[in-house]
Every structure is written in structure tokens, then in C-alpha cells.
Amino acid sequence: MKFTRARGVGLLGIFIAIVLIFAVNNSLGNKITEKSKIQSIWDFTSTIRIPDSANMKVDPKAPPVAAIELPTMITISLICGALVIAGGTLIAKNPERGWVAPYMSSVIALGFFSILLWAVANNSVDLSDTLSRVVRLGTPIAIGALAGIVCERSGVVNIGIEGMMLTAACFGYAAAAISARAIYGDALPESAVRGVVWMPLIIGILGAIVTGGMMAALHAWLSIRFKVDQVISGTVINIMAVGITGFTRTNFLLKFESPLRTGLPQMPLGPLADIPLLGPILFDHKPITYLMILMVFGLNFFLFRTVWGLRTRAIGEHPKAADTVGINVNRMRYRNVIIGGMIAGVAGAWFSLEGSFGFDDGMTSGQGFISLAAMIFGKWNPIGAFGGSLLFSSADALQLKVQAYSFDLPSQFMQMLPYVVTLIVLAGVIGRARPPAASGKVYEK
């Protein structure tokens, strides 16, 4: 019997399922001694609640629209059993293609779901809140992935997205803080509702966009004008970003007193936000999250329906062909890399103005790299990359969620999850992704 990809993946899936079921069994067994009411591990139930968002505004304790009670151990056993059987079939049948990707996706998705059920054993979890968190945390990843797509589709590898985001987060925050002080002095005006003043925040976002664009211009300059290897140039950007932002923070931001205390506010979209389940997931977010969704579909349109998009795809695939029909390849690459950097700047603004308010050293914590993984996962298509971003953010959201419960799985392991998922995806388990053919290659006539 030969070892093939399908068999390897089957084996991996079975291994994950078995480890999971043992871990759950062990963990729930330990809980029995603490709780007097429960006699056996089969008595645990996990409840999934869908709250009634409309009524919760009036009465925070309003009963949920639905509360699904699942027997923890039985449900997890069934899921793991199914994964083992499917994995076994994969090993036995060894299909040449077509089954590996769906199987691995189900292992990841069902694995996440099982961990969630396990974490909320004898407790309940709010589904809309969890999924809304997935969208929220997916925002910077998705925007970063779009930045990567704009660059790589035109043939420039941009590994420096992380650095562009970090610098943009830093200077975006600085722009907001400084402009708030310049406009309002030491205290915000009375009219500011709960401390939200728009002008400095918008200036902050613009500052982040400009910063991202400038970092990208440096990347373009190095890699197009001087033909520096694009991976090296991107790495330079990343290292430089740590230095610049660290310096700015200690020498300036920490000492600077700004009247601005809060970042971008929650903006529920009227009655849409009250739809059960869907409302909180899609229509109750902060501005950059809405902007992200617009950008995903916008870029998809621009890439496939406009002259700019056609030319971008052409120069990333076969620059010589584009050149011979009179398209200025390098000028277009400059432009696209800078646009990409500006998009990365929006993601940077998310970190310091929306996700939290303020700037911390290294606050982008590798999300820029995860963006690139999401871009590859989505095969360089905006909508696919959006899907990839949600996958990675669900790992992250899950991790944050289960920390709230007294949970047996070590938090370090949970923090590792998104990166492990990234590895599995990048190893090519989810189908092979083919990058734009000229990506990373200098164009010379």
C-alpha cells in the first residue's frame, strides 16, 4: 500500500479525531468530581443560544429565539466517529483527487465546532456573538489579503503587508491623536456623544492609508527600480516597521496627551441589526468592518470587470505580452503596489482605531502574514480570500471565546490554533493554489 496525499490526509484526520475524543473524555471526567449533580460524562450538555437581538435592547434578559441543547459527549463522539470513518474510507479507497480538500475542510470546521461544544459543556454559548466575532476579527485579515491580491495580481510579491499594517496603525493613531488635540485642545466638546468625534478619527484613517501607501512606495521603489528581490524588500519593510513604530511610540506617543479617548464606534444598521442571528453577524459592526465587506466585492468587480483589472491580471501573468500591446508594466506595478499599501493602511487603522484604541508595539501580531495565507487559500480571488480570512479568524475567535470558560485546553494551545491552521492550508492540503505566473519576477525588457 503506497503512501499518498489522500491517505496522509485521512491518517491526519483520524489522528485529530482520536486525540480530540480522548481529550474531551478526560477533561469531562475530571469535571465530575467538582460538580455534584453530574454522575457520568454522558450527562453533560452544551447549549447553543441564538439571542433575540431586537428585544434585548429593551430587556437584556429577554429569552432567546432558540436554545439548542446538545448532549456534549454524544455529539462530539458522533462527529469524531464520522471523521474516523471518512478518514478510513480515504485511506482504503485512495481517491486520486477531489476528496482531500472537502475532507480536510470538514476536519477543521467540525474540529472547531467540537472544541466549542467541549468548552461550553454544562454551559451555554451565544452563537450570534461568536460568529459576529469571527467577522470582526476577520476584518484586518481580509483587508490585508486584498492588499496582497492587488500587489501579487500585478506581479509583485508583498510579504511586507505586516509591516505596512503596523506602521499604518502607529501613524494612523498618531494622526488621530494629534488632530484631536489640534482641533479641540485639551478637552473634547460637550457635543461629543460618549467621546466619539468623527473628524480626528477620519483624519486618523486617512493618515493610516497614506502611511501604508508610503511604505508600499518604498517596497515598489526597491523591487521595481532597483530590482531587489521582492521577498527581501518585503522583509526589510517588516523589520523597519518594528523599528520605526517602536521608536515613535516610546519617544512620542507615550508622552503625548490627547483628548481623544475612544476609537470608531459601533454602528448598528437600524432594523437590519435586529434580525436574529444574521443581524449581529452582518449588520452590527464598526465602520471599517462594513468597509471591508464593500472592499471585498468592490475589488472583485474591479479585478474582473474593468480595464484596470484586465491589465493588472495581464501584467501579473505575462508582463511581456502586456508590454507588446503598449501597457507600461512597471508604471502599473508601481501604482498597484502603492494601492495595495493604501489598502493595507486601512487594515492598520483597524488595529489602532477600531479593534482597540491606541497603539502597542507589534500590535498586528502576525495578522499580515495570516492575510497572505488567506490570499493563497482564496487562490488570489477577493471572495475566496474573504472566505480564507473567516477561516483563520474563526480559529482566533474560538480561542478568545473558550478562554472565557474554565477550559482544560491550555490557552497557549488555543493561541497556536490559527497558525496551525495556516500551516495545514499552506502545506497545500486544501487543493493546490497556483500564483500569478510572473509574481515575484522583475520585469526587464
Binding site: 480595464v307 484586465l310 505580452a321
Partner: protein, 511 residues
């Protein structure tokens, strides 16, 4: 030639010097509307340089270009197109991932503001393709189309830009004979509609078939013109090479012995999951040349790499002299008596940065007499180099010159010298004469026949049908990874092989 017709294009005294080579030396010619003007020349005669100058890719050192009687400055391809000059390169300038229409309109898009007008564009492409008899599917992805159709897309791309002159650079290199005939029909059609065509080739048969006028280039110079109706192939060849050449390879009938190589049921898929080898089985006997014909990219490369151990095979078996060599390491296969002339001379055949002397021991350096204990025996390596350079007539200043600085023909001779001097039972020659001069071609052809007569089994892969037909004793044709037919040389006519190359299998009783 009538004097009162203004030439569509007139070139006067074009000269272009590259480091070490005078690529174009005082070249002058005219191109009239409605004619097909063929440029004939060996590789390195300066044809491509001349065309790249016309198309604005190179700057000439001297000389002038007149278009419709007016002096023209062509700085880049966009200028050329604006002046009505289009070009179809040997390697198509097509983006594989885009559709036919997108490729054609790229750079000159039909648009509503920034938005593409996809519907009208594909309608326009359809009209053009009907007007010139160039059938293409406007909405298909270019990468999925056969090369013959891709070539039509390239031609349409130029026509879409309203060119009245079209340069076709070696357009038949990747076509089956039938596809080539189809192309000639299109060329004639274009000429009849008043377009002027430049047809670059080194194939004598083709110029006589399609050209109105022939200009022969040799070593960067125009060495003469000829009338395709009266000039014989022999005359053209002599003009092209500068001396009389023997077009036929001298060989006696084969005297085949036992099967040396047995290939059984090879199957292979590529990264994208597409079939590259589809149940390939064949035998090569001692003392015969089995030629593999087929348009490039139909699995020949993978077949050769599988036999030489460079490509891992999931299914199938390969036997050499009764011994299983499937998926054995390349060195072990070489040591069992396999000589290999790879198709990629520069990438696989030689280490270009190494000296000739080192390249000559690449497959034997680790053995006596070249290695003694832990060190090389330089004297033996030098001696080996000296001997082989002489026997195989490698033209080089010294044995320590790097392989990369030699001409293609001399590079190929180094490979041949290295491979042919081992104790061999099987010779695999893949595109052995691609891109080299006629002198070297003759030499290598004779060497291959010599090896056959010495009792080796020879597997010859070539995209040049003429080469297969003149060297092979049996002809196998590959199409989409499959052997679609094996014919003894007596039955392998150009037409039959051509049909097989296009995947059309013969039916026993008519249709």
C-alpha cells in the same frame, strides 16, 4: 516588381552590432502590399534581430525604416502597431489565464469609462474571425486551447489593431503539417485582402509553398533573393548555408535485434491533475531508431524524463535489457548504459558556468581514471577533454572555456561527446538539433546513425517531422500523452503522420 507601387515597408542599410556579433550587416529590402515575403536563414543568421528592430524591441545602430514611403522611428512595439506593423512571435505573447477576447483587446480595450465592454468586445472578435477565416472561440480561456488556435488568436490580436503588415516569426514550428497548411491558407487570404506579410522560417519546403518572394540571410547579411517558383530546395539550402549541403542522411536499412527498452503502461498526471502520459507502451530494439513524432507538449518530455529517471512514475514499468529500471535514480540508469541528449541543452545538458573540460566528465567524474582516491586526476580529465574536442570537432579556443560561451551547435557537440563515449546500449536523443546550425545538424545526425549501426537502440524525440522522417526506422506518434500510432518508416508519409499528430486515428474502413 512594378516600380510605381509604394512599398508598405522599406528597410535601408540596417546594421546592428551585439557584443562579439554583427547581427545585422547593411540589410536592405522592400515589402509590397499584398505579398508574402519569406526570410530564410539558419539559426543565428540575424532574422529575429531584424524583425525585433522592425517591431521596436531593439534600436538599430544604423539604417532607416520607411513605412508607406515615409521615414519612421519605431521606438517600441506600440509605435510599430500604430504604424500598422504587427508581429506574431515564436513564443506567443498571450496571457494563458485570460480569455481569447480579453487577450485580443488587451491594451486597446472597448470600454465604458473604466468598465470593460465585454459583450461588444467579444462580438467584435467574432466579426474579425469571420472576416479573415480565423476560427476562434471568443470566450474560451487561452491556456486551454491548442497551439494552432492560440496562433490564430495572436494573428487576430494584430488584425484587431488594424495592421496592414504582419511579421510571422517561425510560425510553423509548433504546428502539425495540416495546421501549417491551414495557416498558409490564412496567410494567402490576408495577402489577397491587401496585407503585406513577412514570413520567417528555416524550412525550405514551406517557403516554396507559400512565399511570393524569398530573401536569404546568412551571418547577418542578405546573401541573395530567389523566386520560389524556380528555386530548388538544394539551391536555397546552399544559399542559406554558404556551401552545398546534403539534405538526406545517408543510411542503410536497419537491422533490428532484440528489444533493449521495454516501456509498459506508463501513466502520469501533472500538478493540475491533467493526464500527461496515457498508458504509454513501446519497445526499442537494438540497431534501430524509433522516432517519436508529435507537436511539442504532448507528453514527449515526460516520457523521456521517466525513462531517464528524472520523473517519478506512479504507474507503469520500464525495463532495460530485461532489468527493471522504473523509478531508479538517474545515475544508476546512466550506468546501465543509457546515453541521453536532453531537450534543454542549457538547463539539463550542461552546467553553463563550468568549463568544457569539466562538462565532458559530468557523468563519469567520480570514477577512475578521473578520480583517484579523494582527488581528481587532472591529467586524465585534460587528456579526455583534448581527445573529445578533437574527435567531435568542438570549435572552441580552449578546453577551459566555459560551456556557456559557445554556440548552440558546439554546446550540443559537447553533450554528444560526453554521452557517446560511455559503454551504451540505449541512446535517448530529445530534440537533438533544435536551434543549431546546419553543419552541426549534419554532424549530429550522422553520429546518431553511427550509434544505431553500432547496435544501440535509439529513441529519437523531435518536433521537426523532417528530422524524424529522415532518421527513424519506425515512427511513433504521440498525442495528448498517448501513442496514437506506430508506423514503419516505409508507411510513414507526411500526411499520415500529420493526421496522427492532430489526434486523428485512421479507421480501417473509411469513416
Amino acid at each position: 516588381m512594378t516600380a510605381n507601387v509604394v512599398p508598405a515597408l522599406e528597410v535601408r542599410n540596417i546594421t546592428k552590432q551585439f557584443p562579439g556579433v554583427l547581427a545585422n550587416d547593411q540589410i536592405s529590402f522592400t515589402l509590397l502590399p499584398g505579398e508574402i515575403h519569406a526570410f530564410l536563414g539558419e539559426n543565428g543568421a540575424g532574422k529575429s534581430t531584424l524583425m525585433n528592430i522592425l517591431y521596436g524591441l531593439y534600436d538599430p545602430d544604423q539604417g532607416e525604416i520607411l513605412i508607406n514611403g515615409e521615414l519612421a522611428k519605431i521606438k517600441n512595439p506600440a509605435d510599430a502597431i500604430r504604424l500598422g506593423l504587427g508581429m506574431v512571435h515564436q513564443e506567443y505573447a498571450l496571457v494563458d489565464t485570460l480569455t481569447v477576447t480579453e487577450n485580443i483587446i488587451l491594451g486597446t480595450e472597448l470600454r465604458n469609462g473604466p468598465i470593460l465592454n465585454a459583450k461588444e468586445a467579444s462580438q467584435r472578435v467574432r466579426e474579425l474571425s469571420e472576416q479573415y477565416g480565423l476560427a476562434v472561440p471568443p470566450d474560451a480561456i487561452v491556456g486551454d486551447l491548442p497551439v494552432g488556435v492560440q496562433q490564430r488568436v495572436e494573428i487576430l490580436k494584430a488584425l484587431y489593431r488594424n495592421v496592414n503588415m504582419l511579421i510571422l516569426d517561425e510560425p510553423t514550428a509548433v504546428l502539425t503539417p495540416q495546421e501549417a497548411d491551414d495557416l498558409f491558407r490564412v496567410m494567402r487570404e490576408l495577402a489577397d485582402q491587401g496585407k503585406a506579410l513577412i514570413f520567417i522560417t528555416h524550412k525550405l519546403r514551406e517557403v516554396r509553398e507559400v512565399a511570393d518572394r524569398i530573401t536569404v540571410l546568412r551571418r547577418g547579411k542578405v546573401v541573395g533573393g530567389a523566386d520560389p517558383k524556380t528555386a530548388s530546395e538544394g539551391q536555397l539550402a546552399a544559399l542559406m548555408v554558404g556551401r552545398d549541403v546534403v539534405l538526406k542522411v545517408d543510411k542503410t536499412a536497419a537491422n533490428p535485434g532484440d528489444a533493449v527498452l521495454k516501456v509498459r503502461n506508463l501513466k502520469l498526471r501533472d500538478d493540475r491533475g491533467l493526464t500527461v502520459l496515457d498508458d504509454v507502451s513501446l519497445d526499442v530494439h537494438a540497431g534501430e531508431v524509433l522516432g517519436i513524432a508529435g507537436v511539442q507538449g504532448n507528453g514527449q518530455t515526460e516520457l523521456v524524463e521517466a525513462i531517464t529517471g528524472l520523473q517519478h512514475l506512479p504507474t507503469g514499468s520500464i525495463e532495460l535489457l530485461g532489468k527493471d529500471i522504473t523509478n531508479r535514480p538517474p545515475r544508476s540508469i546512466t550506468e546501465q548504459g543509457v546515453a541521453y541528449i536532453p531537450e534543454d541543452r542549457k538547463g539539463t545538458g550542461l552546467v553553463l558556468g563550468y568549463s568544457i573540460r569539466d562538462n565532458l566528465v559530468l557523468s563519469t567524474y567520480y570514477k577512475a581514471p578521473f578520480t583517484k582516491g579523494l582527488t581528481f586526476n587532472d591529467a586524465a580529465i585534460d587528456e579526455n577533454a583534448k581527445e573529445l574536442i578533437e574527435t567531435f570537432d568542438v570549435r572552441t579556443p580552449s578546453a577551459t572555456t566555459t560551456a556557456g560561451s559557445l554556440s548552440g551547435g558546439n554546446q550540443q557537440k559537447i553533450i554528444v561527446a560526453r554521452e557517446f563515449t560511455r559503454e551504451n546500449r540505449l541512446l535517448i536523443a530529445s530534440q537533438p538539433t533544435r536551434g543549431i546550425d546546419v553543419g552541426s545538424i549534419e554532424f549530429i545526425h550522422n553520429q546518431i546513425i553511427k550509434q544505431r549501426d553500432a547496435g544501440l537502440a535509439v529513441l529519437l524525440v523531435s518536433a521537426e517531422l523532417d528530422e524524424i522522417l529522415s532518421l527513424a526506422d519506425r515512427v511513433a506518434v504521440m498525442y495528448h500523452g498517448k501513442i496514437v500510432g506506430i508506423l514503419p518508416i516505409a508507411e510513414a508519409t507526411r500526411e499520415r503522420v500529420g493526421l496522427l499528430m492532430a489526434g486523428i486515428q485512421e479507421q480501417p474502413n473509411g469513416k
